[in-house]
């Protein structure tokens, strides 16, 4: 597999870690061979080389061996970081930190890609894949007391532990509210569209238009009207509605979420085999019964697909909402950008990434489960 070759190249050519005495100074880059000496670097690249060699000619046995090597690689990465941290960070400089270099990132990326590939080839059950994918995270946490706390990412986190937890809470709350509201509103719109063809044309063009407005512009556009409203009606103000903050963020997020939600709900409901619905009616089911017992359950997998897309999209967009004071993990990203502290940006971005991946997998899984009885 070319993947392993690429990982090897990345491992040797690009800096493995960076080291900086404090946050402001750009770090010095160290290649893998400089971190722990040539011997250790070659030893560390052995699994990759063996994997590349194995990949020339694949059978089931070799695929399993490859999987084992990928696991070794994934577990090895945090260990490597720990070693580098112990080696390079000067214990006398409390602000000193170690950054993850491009080589390490790429190696991680390639290993994960290899894992995805192996998963489809070996038809791994999803718990196994998840277990393997989460391994480095577990090892990472275990390594923290061993010296990995020199990692810049960890230092940023340690500096704002409470803030971080609060931000995750805000982020999840905003995403949850967005998905819940757009699900209800989207369902109502989709139902109206099914009944009145005119609503359908108008609705879709409006929602399509909304989708094309840049998110930042939409946040900006809402600023004026909401500020005016909260000024005028005291009860809105007391609720916390104002030109900035969660209110405009929520409105904008819902506006963006409506298109995928409505489209999927509509398509899901329309896509049910008309013969099935007709026979439901012909058998003597009432309208409500045939909707609740036949049309809705059959539409559910596609409908959930809409929820999945919406959720993933909302998780990403909520990051932008931090700009208008809605909080969430986006805050760290923008703070980091402002202070040119890349590790702070990562502190915001990585959990968002993780959240999106987990939400995607969970909802996708749920949808698959609901497709019972259908040919797969």
């Amino acid at each position: 597999m070319a993947l392993m070759g690429a990982a090897l190249v990345a491992w040797w050519m690009l800096p493995s870690v960076t080291m900086a005495p404090n946050r402001i100074v750009p770090g010095t880059a160290y290649a893998a061979s400089e971190v722990a000496g040539w011997g250790a670097a070659i030893l560390a690249s052995l699994p990759l080389a063996v994997a590349a060699w194995l990949a020339r000619d694949l059978d089931r046995q070799r695929l399993k061996a490859l999987l084992a090597l990928v696991v070794v690689g994934l577990v090895g990465l945090p260990l490597w970081l720990t070693a580098a941290s112990v080696q390079l960070v000067d214990p006398n400089l409390p602000q000193a930190r170690i950054g993850i270099g491009a080589g390490l990132w790429l190696t991680l990326f390639m290993l994960l890609l290899a894992l995805v590939e192996l998963r489809t080839r070996l038809v791994l059950p999803s718990p196994v894949t998840w277990g393997v994918a989460l391994l480095p995270l577990v090892v990472f946490v275990l390594c923290l007391p061993l010296g990995l706390d020199g990692l810049a990412l960890w230092q940023e986190y340690a500096g704002r532990r409470d803030d971080f937890v609060a931000a995750i809470g805000e982020h999840l709350l905003l995403v949850g509210a967005t998905v819940a509201i757009s699900l209800v509103v989207g369902a109502v719109i989709a139902l109206l569209m099914r009944r009145y063809p005119r609503v359908q044309r108008l609705g879709f063009s409006l929602l399509n238009f909304l989708q094309t407005v840049p998110s930042l512009a939409l946040f900006g556009l809402l600023l004026g009207p909401l500020a005016w409203l909260s000024d005028r009606y005291a009860w809105l103000d007391s609720l916390g509605v104002s030109g900035i903050g969660w209110a405009p963020a929520l409105i904008a997020l819902v506006a963006y979420s409506l298109l995928p939600m409505v489209r999927n709900t509509f398509v899901a409901l329309e896509g049910v085999d008309p013969g099935v619905v007709e026979s439901a009616r012909g058998m003597g089911m009432s309208r409500l019964q045939s909707f609740l017992q036949v049309r809705l359950p059959l539409a559910l997998p596609v409908l959930l697909e809409g929820v999945r897309i919406t959720t993933v999209q909302a998780i990403g967009l909520t990051a932008v909402a931090a700009l208008i004071g809605a909080g969430g993990l986006g805050r760290f990203i923008f703070q980091g950008l402002g202070q040119a502290a890349m590790d702070l940006v990562l502190l915001g971005a990585l959990p968002i990434l993780l959240m999106a991946v987990v939400a995607d997998a969970l909802l996708g899984n749920l949808a698959n489960r609901l497709r019972k009885g259908e040919p797969t």
Binding site: G275, V276, M283
Partner: protein, 314 residues
Amino acid sequence: MIELIHISKRFGDTAAVDDISLKVESGEFCVVVGTSGCGKSTTLRMINRLIEHSDGEIHIDSQPIRSFREEQLRRRIGYAIQSTGLFPHWTVARNIGLVPRLLKWPKARIDARVEELLTLLGLSGSEFAGKYPSQLSGGQAQRVGVARALAANPDILLMDEPFGALDPITRETLQVELRQLQTRLGKTIVFVTHDMDEALRLADRLVVMQDGRIVQQGHPLTLLREPVNDFVASMLGGEDRGLKEAALLPVSERMSPLGVGGVARERIDQGASLREALSIMLWRRVECLAVVDDGDIPIGELSFRRLVGARGHE
């Protein structure tokens, strides 16, 4: 008994069904044939009010169908369609138990009924009850469709090209089974198809429709022998009508007593059709067949002249 009295159905300005009258007696197997778009499916769906008729009256057992609540009416009438309409997310057992559940039968009674119907349609309950429709073959799914239509023991069955999507062999098997089922259960059946062989095989009463009107109705043999116009004649097979008629007549109808000259070598069952007899003659290149009873005992003979119904003595 189903009665359609001067029924019309208009969609906007076009009449899909135009002033038709039809009476289907209890226990009668009525097959409606016609080209696509002739209004036969519309007619069928008006009977269970999936489509409301515009003019006229439809009576079931002498009561106008509009005197019933829609759902109540439909639960009394079995309904089976081409795509089977089975719910893909329900098991076979749950599909079959649909109408009994709507009628709020107790659970034990529903279970017993499902089991009974699966057996009736030649499906083993233990094997099929828990399966989903996607796990069934076309023929099995269609059997389940029929079982579901029969579930609440309705007097009337409406079937809209139920065997249309099946391969010829499965289709023929199911036709034979349906015919036997009908004889056994005495249901009143209205069956829509465009397959003339299917229609002739099943019908007690054959109804030919064209452009929303009934062109001719009656016993299949009557229509074969005395079509009112060229359309009916061509619908019934044109020059093939001779063979189609032969397919409806049993050998026993034309056979003669055993001759003195010994028994012919090729045999045919007395219940077989004249068409089968003709086919054997053509295939074996013989002019006379021995007719045997169920025990394979010769009881008569059938000559080519007798088969074609030529008058006079041989």
